[in-house]
């Protein structure tokens, strides 16, 4: 294993990559959580790692953070390896973990002061408190913060050393849209100052808003990568048309009939509804209504939207990102 990783290492140019990952594998007994992943994160960009629960997102990010050791593969963070000097990397990165329960009995500034003490150099506490928008909550107990405020505190703890690179594991899971946006603003500021970000999420909106590049994982493998726009473009669809057919009897439309309509690219069923990826929206909808009229059926819940990452994901895996 060692030899393999060395030979790969030599072929990788250092370049301007903040993170380099080659042939990453992590197994838990029978289960292979991460099954041969390669990627890079360029300095000053944000990579979003998307995938449903169990796709290997958290395992991957925890290997990069130095919490887990990979079974195979090579990882370099800011040009350094975890095998050499872990503290040197830790001084330069900021990490926000999933579901850290910060001690209740401490105040906001006490928590930040604790984390600040671990780093040889870093930010001024007050600047961070202002950045995360907790100036008024400076003396509040952590337990009295709202979910969103606590999450911003968690990001604040990751920013205390003025890191070059930030790792965020599902930073806004469980937050309402308003609270989510406020966390994003903190991340935006970090990015605007040239910071590199790697974040995992299962929110499409978050990925599209924050990430320059995406990596979509499923079952520990990369199933798509590129900018959000380029990934969506792989669908080669102009829009997505979804509807259901109200039928009182036997009469219905067959998949073959629908697929034969001019401009339909692919079809899938979702609950009682049918979802079409189409290249020519207008002609498909016209064709659909014609068919329905002939059969004496009725179209319900007709929607069309521009293709999203969610559509790409579903077309690739047959699953939704969030399984609720």
């Amino acid at each position: 294993m060692k030899e393999v990783s060395h030979s790969i290492e030599n072929t990788v140019e250092q370049g301007d990559a903040a993170v380099q990952v080659r042939g990453l594998v992590k197994r838990y007994g029978e289960l292979t959580a991460v099954d041969g992943i390669d990627f890079e994160v360029k300095r000053g960009t944000c990579l979003g790692v998307l995938g449903p629960n169990g796709a290997g997102k958290t395992t991957t990010i925890e290997i990069l953070e130095g919490l887990k050791t990979p079974d195979e593969g090579m990882v370099r963070i800011l040009g350094q390896s975890w095998d050499d000097d872990p503290r040197a990397i830790q001084e330069r990165i900021g990490v926000q973990l999933q579901e850290t329960d910060f001690q209740d009995k401490l105040k906001v500034f006490e928590m930040l002061r604790l984390f600040r003490s671990f780093y040889s150099k870093g930010a001024d506490l007050n600047d961070i408190i202002e950045l995360i928008g907790l100036t008024e909550k400076r003396n509040a107990f952590v337990k009295d913060l709202s979910g969103g405020q606590r999450q911003r505190l968690s990001v604040g703890c990751a920013l205390l050393n003025n890191p070059e690179m930030l790792f965020l594991d599902e930073p806004t899971t469980g937050l309402d849209p308003q609270a989510r946006r406020r966390v994003w603003e903190v991340i935006d500021t970090f990015k605007a100052e040239g910071g590199t970000v790697l974040l995992t999420t299962h929110y499409m909106e978050e990925a599209e808003r924050l990430a320059d590049d995406l990596l979509i994982l499923d079952h520990g493998r990369v199933i798509a990568r590129g900018s959000p726009a380029s990934i969506i473009a792989t669908l080669e669809a102009e829009s997505v048309v979804s509807f259901s057919i109200a039928s009182d009897g036997e009469a219905s439309l067959s998949d073959e009939e629908l697929q034969a309509l001019d401009g339909v690219q692919s079809l899938r069923h979702e609950g009682n509804g049918i979802v079409l990826s189409v290249t020519q929206t207008q002609s498909v909808i016209a064709g659909l209504f014609e068919l329905v009229k002939i059969r004496g059926l009725q179209v319900d819940n007709l929607h069309t939207h521009r293709p999203t990452l969610e559509d790409v994901f579903v077309s690739l895996t047959g699953k939704h990102l969030r399984d609720e």
Partner: protein
């Protein structure tokens, strides 16, 4: 920021976390004092209690028993052997021991309030039994062993129990809690030195240990009148060593458990037997003699024996070789194993 900043901040967080937990304050500071007060006052002898005299069976003991019947407040308990009777006296189960020699011999403990009553009652009973004798023939012997009130025996045991409880809970529970909250994991992705983490637990314990000792010892000496014959330095050193032992055991107990229930169960598994077998509330010498060497190997037995030797017998820590060796042994073993098996994630 330096290494010291990191240790100071971690320690401060521990101390703040503790003092903001009112329940913890109660269990550490108030509970032992309440327990000592209740037991101490409960076992303080009342004003008109009868005098209990142990009579050692032998030639002439019948006559003594007959003579003591004169006084209705003299309760007689018969013992086969002198040793047995003396042990009762030491544990304050009787107020005096009479041996049927010629002349009879009365042993009592002069530091006890009951002793004088016992002496007078015995003398009077004997005087009445021998007509005409103003001063009945009797040898008087003073028990040289100290601290024979129950509370005197109990108090060092309570200090030992308190050191065990606060060490185990204060450290073991706190570690299990930061692990359960995944806060430990969060610390792991910072450059925090792991040694600082452990050190902060020890230092925060030290802060509270000094307060605990001053409060507990003060209460014992000033309110309960427990003798304090040893030098304060020996007392503090024994307490420090005890605290260190239970800090090590606290870390050991919490080295792997993930839940509060798990750590509580393990904690009780370790502590409850020692409450019973290490001579907190009663002497472990009441267990069969064959067990004594084993019981002396328990860390709390070592601590309690050392505390009693210092407080009641005025010994110095340097004369307590076996007790100190037992505690040092537990220190080394518990820390070595705990740090080896400690699960950070």
């Amino acid at each position: 920021m330096s290494r010291l900043d990191e240790i100071r901040e971690l320690t401060r967080v521990r101390v703040l976390g503790f003092i903001r937990e009112p329940e913890a304050i109660f269990w550490v500071f108030v509970f032992p004092i309440v327990l000592a007060a209740v037991l101490g006052f409960a076992f303080r002898s009342g004003g008109i209690a009868p005098t209990k005299i142990a009579v050692v069976i032998g030639e002439g003991s019948d006559r003594l028993v007959e003579a003591f019947k004169v006084d209705e407040h003299l309760e007689v308990v018969l013992y086969e052997s002198r040793d047995e009777a003396m042990s009762k006296l030491r544990k304050a189960a009787v107020d005096g021991v009479v041996e049927p020699d010629d002349p009879p011999k009365l042993t009592f403990d002069p530091v006890r309030a009951e002793a004088e009553t016992a002496r007078l009652r015995v003398l009077r009973a004997l005087a009445l039994a021998i007509p005409g004798a103003e001063d009945p023939p009797i040898d008087l012997d003073e028990l040289t062993e100290t601290g024979s009130r129950y509370v005197d025996f109990l108090f060092p045991g309570l200090i030992g129990m308190n050191l065990m409880g606060t060490g185990m809970w204060g450290i073991g529970f706190a570690i299990a809690d930061v692990r359960r909250r995944k806060f430990l994991k969060r610390l792991l992705v910072t450059p925090m030195r792991r040694s600082s983490f452990f050190l902060s637990f020890m230092l925060s314990r030290l802060v509270f240990l000094l307060m605990e000792l001053v409060m507990l010892a003060g209460f014992g000496v000033w309110v309960l009148g427990v003798p304090f014959r040893g030098d304060p330095l020996s007392f503090v050193l024994v307490c420090l060593l005890g605290a260190l032992v239970f800090a090590g055991l606290g870390i050991l107990v919490a080295a792997r458990v993930k839940t509060i229930e798990g750590v509580s169960g393990l904690m009780n598994l370790v502590m409850v037997p020692m409450w019973l077998f290490s001579g907190v509330f009663f002497s472990y010498e009441r267990f069969p003699e064959a067990l004594h060497p084993v019981l002396r190997l328990l860390p709390l037995t070592g601590l309690n024996d050392a505390l009693r030797a210092v407080m009641l017998d005025g010994e110095s820590i340097f004369s307590l070789g076996p007790e100190v060796a037992v505690m040092l042994g537990w220190c080394v073993v518990s820390f070595a194993v705990a740090l080896r098996i400690f699960k950070w994630e």
